[in-house]
Symmetry: C2
Subunit: 153 residues, 2 copies
Amino acid sequence: MTQSLDTKPQTQELRRLLAGFECAMLTTVDDDGTLHSRPMSICNEIDNDATLWFFTLDNSHKVVDIEHHQQVNISFSEPNQQRYISILGTAQLTKDRNKLQGKWQHKFQTWFPKGINEPNLALLKVKVNKVDYWESSSSSSPQTISFLELSHR
Amino acid sequence: MTQSLDTKPQTQELRRLLAGFECAMLTTVDDDGTLHSRPMSICNEIDNDATLWFFTLDNSHKVVDIEHHQQVNISFSEPNQQRYISILGTAQLTKDRNKLQGKWQHKFQTWFPKGINEPNLALLKVKVNKVDYWESSSSSSPQTISFLELSHR
């Protein structure tokens, strides 16, 4: 019998790592193989199943990238503290109205002035598969949190 | 007759943007399609032809990634100043001894204790194709510097 995996320690560790970060660089792969990054304001709450959420417009280029190549990278950098985080994730788009309302925060008004009524408003749901993180400048080997076992349940 | 392009304004603008940054997140694509990022200390000098250089070990995983998929992304983040830079580049490895010696700086000793005599020491040469940058939190559209015309000359 396979032992049941408890998601909580990994998710708690992820929450600890991301505390204080407001903005990530989201990297996607374009059809021509080029890699594009852009800053994305993150929804503060991290789901229990280690899902991250980002508001976007459904007609943006990154959405096309993700439709064709679901694997993304989300990185967080704090150079002053020499803290760096790389998240390997699988992204998909949702326009579920309840989810949009549940995840909305006032800070997103800056990028989406019409708020929850923005016609093309959507959410990128990123399932976290693996986290590599560095908390010291002198080490080139990251510490790692794996969520892969969880996604296969 | 095609007008000759002057590399200098773009390269100067790139130098201005990167001034003060010591560390980038380098994103590569693995054979299984997953995207990996890791912090990389950058060689301070940016060549006139907009090439960036990073020391690495030639047996590291990112080198395998780059052998199979040359397109990379290099991002710089300064959350306190809300400055974000995304560089689309094409990477290749070199072990040219003169280049290794020319690019070596004392700060790299932290990661490569044997210095220039580290047996697996190599350089990643990244040709910059395009730069997207954000210098304000309220804009979602980046400013752009294109180097693509230059690489076709």
